[in-house]
Symmetry: D2
């Protein structure tokens, strides 16, 4: 039977249009047109919705991928999922991680559940989400359903084996709001930003709750339009979500561990208890299989660390461990909040090529005040 | 004979004008008009030179101190040194640390060098520094000389016992430049900012080199006008400096450990090797007397930690451990750079009331790429 | 009978706490404790809700006023209305305008409606506005009612004679939202900012619609909770409103012209048709009585101009006269939007001491895309 | 004999990579591969040196031009000069102006100096400028020399006929500074920014003085390394300059009027007396041939206006017409300063597609406190 062998390669980018790292991977045969499944990265620029660094990177990477796969650019999205998070304030190195998935034939007898579980990846698209569903139950359910199918594609059945779910969903635009209202529908917000009542925040959070529902982190009965961005006790510990006005469908990529995998990588995750909790980052590394116990990872441990994916959502409270901070008042809180997450992770991993997205205030991605950290580690076992 | 007993009390501030914490210290007798020697703190606001949060805090704190000491406001500076660093981006809690110094009589026989060295503090003012000396050898020498006298005031003779030297010196203003030039003198820069060629940066860095010279960290023979902000291999590991156009003299406060002290506190310091080096922060804690060895401080350790003073100077290079970062290009690098230092310290100390100043690019305060961290710890020995 | 004589004095401020201009007015007898009715100004600082420049100015001005009136600071608000708008980006000089109102006895026969109408001012407080009314009909009605009483206080009966209504109303806070929800009430928004769905914007806009209703600019039948920040065709041409979480009541100041006035000043207003419409500013000057016709005001005209009050609300559209602008995407649109209004006015008035508030996106203060401009002019007629 | 016919076409751009307007010009035959001489525009983005909107626009426009001319991209610079100014804060529409120059044969007898002078354009490259010359006399002289040759190319001999000189020169980079110092040379600044002592500012200002020298606005005897960014009484009224670290040579484009031209366009210029001087903008329009006298241009006048080029340098003083402004202290003064220039121009031209560059503090481009404005107008005379 066929099982997965997943690899992940992290390349720093010298400019938003720098595809030289990918080209080297292609030249060396490490990624192939039929194994490349996802490009996940951080692009330099402002990180705002008109961040031309991110837009240019998107254009350049799709261009390169189209040529690599020998297909027109507008078909690239069918084959490779792009997750580009804009903004590298502070100590976040602009980079792109290429995820490849090979199907390897193994004798049926060779597959048993006694093996150590290793990295698998699965993808799925959702049904179309009309604007009136954005940030509401419609979006939650469709993300939940797509998450189930992505787990299936990954060969995962137990939600405990899922450690990271990256989701992209439609947000709202002036045009899509007009469309909804012309059909007599309401929309969740007229604020198109990622502010506390912004449509972008509602879309991201509905997507997170969709993952939480699919994985059983939140019972469907607890969910309704009214809880989105209201009841922060409902959240996912593995969902990292984003939204864009140009999209019509949701896209889901699931990363987990499976005994059926032949990968040399394993993934794990944890959540930080608050914004300064470096121990939460270390827990994620341990969850993925670094065994440095109570203390600190040493160089040998860190050499086995392949990549870290972290959120850096700004807490909704102005208190950390009983002391007031002024972050919520900072005019550039969006940049600073993201930068601080980058520092928290880098101070543990000893490197700056970490995927850290965030800057928004409050989220159903992770518990109140805390953030999600997932880590991918190379093991010796194959 | 009389020896010092130094205490340090850290109070969070709810607004720039919040003196309630100081009032409680006064009411409880922990600080007295004749023991209060310094107020060192972080004030909320933008941190820029027109940061009204810092200015308002300065006015309110001097007002309070004048009333507490029963003297006119304009005489406060003679009795209490103020070091207020503006800007609390991210996870830095606005706070004020009151430093008190009591002189206690001990029997002469009780004083010997076999005792554990404990915290002492000393102060000195410098000769006036005309504008043409700012950022040059004149300023370096006068800070050096004042550092020697502040060590004397502290009862310190060995530079190894000095762990933190806070310095304030005159910078340049439009008026003082005009004055210098009218007398046929040149000035170090016409840029009044803290940018790479700014007069503020030159003043701060000359002050740091003055400390370095006084402590023998840099030989006088290596110093000249030309090395300031050019030869980054010359630096102090204990100098934290600031400058203001309104000043005419330098002010120096030295913190160190002495066997003649009867304090319950001890100070130590270390430098980080680069911008993400959390281990450098831990080294400072160990240097001050927390014995958590190779791993991490536990809660008992941290409960003995009184305060941390750290710089967060942005590195001059765009590389950290071989990877590119874009911090130097960030429009708000000044805020982000300071915020990142706050996170690095808070992720180790588990609290947000840390004194972290910085945001400038490159400095003789600490080694290239690294930063100074000093820590004050409470011991059991008296 | 007693009629009003209103004066307005504009003083630049050198710092947020600079009361020297007011002191000179007091020393010269131009303002007296029983004639000072309002202080309206622009304070330097960031203009954000934690703008310490504005807060410090407020503290210093109330302090000064309390001493001037010989009353405790917390009673100042009963006698003098403060409208301090934070943020002077670009070419807006920080300043404070003192408004004084004297009651002069005139023979009954001397009062007839044939006289030229001159400046009068009136004030009123509203009933308390609980949090559930903020941004909704409750707030609209109470502002409308207070506007009527302020007109009465001014001696104005015809809405056409009203040219400027400054209003301050309660906004929402975390605490007041909690209070409302604990009583089973909903609130208009959980976003505490002045963003497009922010509670501050809803409060400001409900206040503007309250003025519009009182003046007959919008029929009460057209108003409902649902039109606030939705139907931009409903607006006032004379309302300038602000809100603060600390307030419990609304405050209204009405400026208009009356035949019963003995002032040497007259007020007028106009609206700009779009964001670059300098002609709209000139129309306001003409409306107040500068007769420069179709062309430009000359120096003699401008020497009679006492003050300009203008809004600079950012348009909701990204098009100006058919061309796209990127202002809506600017990260610092709030500052830039306010600064641009300052330039538009200054380029016409030839001075920088203009009251210009704004920066928010879309408003019922003025027509879609346009802004309100009011001008006060000194005439020769008494 | 052959004389010039110059045209200028202004196209709004919908994104940084939008070449549709140029394509339409090409399709309609308005620009041809052998007549396109310059592309001058404003690109959206932050306007900072790492503004990816500008970089992406540059890549996309060069790409398009290479295809249009049928030549490799790296040869485009030999045929078409690109002046892309980043940042469209406020009311500046992103746009590109295509300048075409056709050579038309006219009978020799038809050419006489009695004709009205009309638009001509000329270009020249300079000798290489090593880093030690940047911001100093070497750069000044080489720009001056190239300006002479560009005038020659334009067929201009009288400096009074020159109304706009756009210049691009090399700035400094970390690498070029190292190169200079390795050869024992000094450089003008180690600050790579456009701050008051930044290398970028020195390069721009040396280029402006080079133009001033070539046109006789400043005598060569008044020039030396020491006056650059020191003696603001030396300046050009027609130079708009920029610099980039990647360049090795200077490039100069001269716009002027000549009796030998067969263009339907004419250029003029003026300088504003200060930052709020709308009359200065109107003077530029009159200089180019709009005859609206003392008042305001009407719609017919403005319909003949083809384009405006303006600088918006922030004044070095914090006073405008005797009143203090806080612009120099604004953290985002660079953006605001540029935006204000855009408003000043748009409020006069009634449109937002104006070329406005600036944001730097003080410059030899224009008089102290004032700015350069050039206007191109369509006439009826051919």
């Amino acid at each position: 039977m066929k099982v997965q062998r997943v690899e992940m390669f992290v390349n720093a980018m010298a400019t938003p249009a720098d595809t030289s790292g990918l080209q080297k991977l292609a030249d060396s045969g490490k990624i192939k047109p039929d194994t490349l499944v996802a490009l996940v990265g951080k692009t330099e620029g402002t990180g705002f919705h008109d961040d031309w660094g991110r837009v240019w990177a998107d254009v350049a990477l799709r261009d390169w991928t189209g040529k690599f796969l020998g297909i027109p650019v507008d078909e690239v999205a069918k084959h490779v999922i792009f997750v580009l998070s804009g903004g590298c304030p502070g100590v976040i190195t602009p980079h792109i991680a290429a995820v490849s998935r090979e199907w390897v034939e193994v004798p049926d007898g060779d597959v048993d559940t006694g093996r150590e579980k290793m990295l698998v990846v699965g993808r799925a698209g959702s049904d179309p989400m009309p604007p009136e569903e954005v940030g509401r139950m419609g979006q939650i359910r469709k993300v939940g359903e797509a998450t189930h199918r992505a787990m299936e594609d990954a060969g995962l059945t137990d939600p405990k084996d899922v450690h990271l779910v990256m989701v992209k969903v439609p947000g709202l635009t002036t045009a899509s709001i007009k469309d909804a209202e012309s059909r007599g529908k309401t929309v969740v917000s007229h604020d198109l930003t990622f502010g506390p009542e912004g449509a972008g925040s509602y879309a991201n959070d509905a997507a997170a709750l969709g993952v939480a529902m699919a994985l059983g982190e939140v019972p469907e009965s607890a969910l309704s339009d009214g809880v989105v961005r209201r009841n922060w006790d409902l959240y996912s510990e593995v969902a990292m979500t984003s939204s864009g006005g140009e999209k019509r469908h949701g896209e889901v990529v699931v990363f987990g561990n499976s005994a059926w995998s032949r990968s040399a990588l394993r993934i794990g995750h944890a959540v930080t208890r608050d914004f300064i909790d470096a121990e939460g980052v270390r827990k994620a590394l341990r969850s993925a299989g670094l065994h440095f116990n109570d203390g600190l990872p040493d160089e040998a441990d860190l050499s086995r660390l392949v990549h870290v994916f972290a959120k850096s959502v700004i807490p909704g409270s102005d208190q950390i461990r009983g002391q007031r901070i002024t972050l919520l008042d900072d005019a550039d809180a969006y940049q600073i909040g993201k930068a601080l997450g980058g520092m928290l992770v880098a101070s543990v991993t000893g490197r700056t090529t970490n995927y850290v997205s965030g800057g928004e205030r409050n989220s159903h991605q992770g518990p109140p005040g805390g953030n999600i950290v997932a880590a991918v580690v190379r093991t010796n076992a194959i």
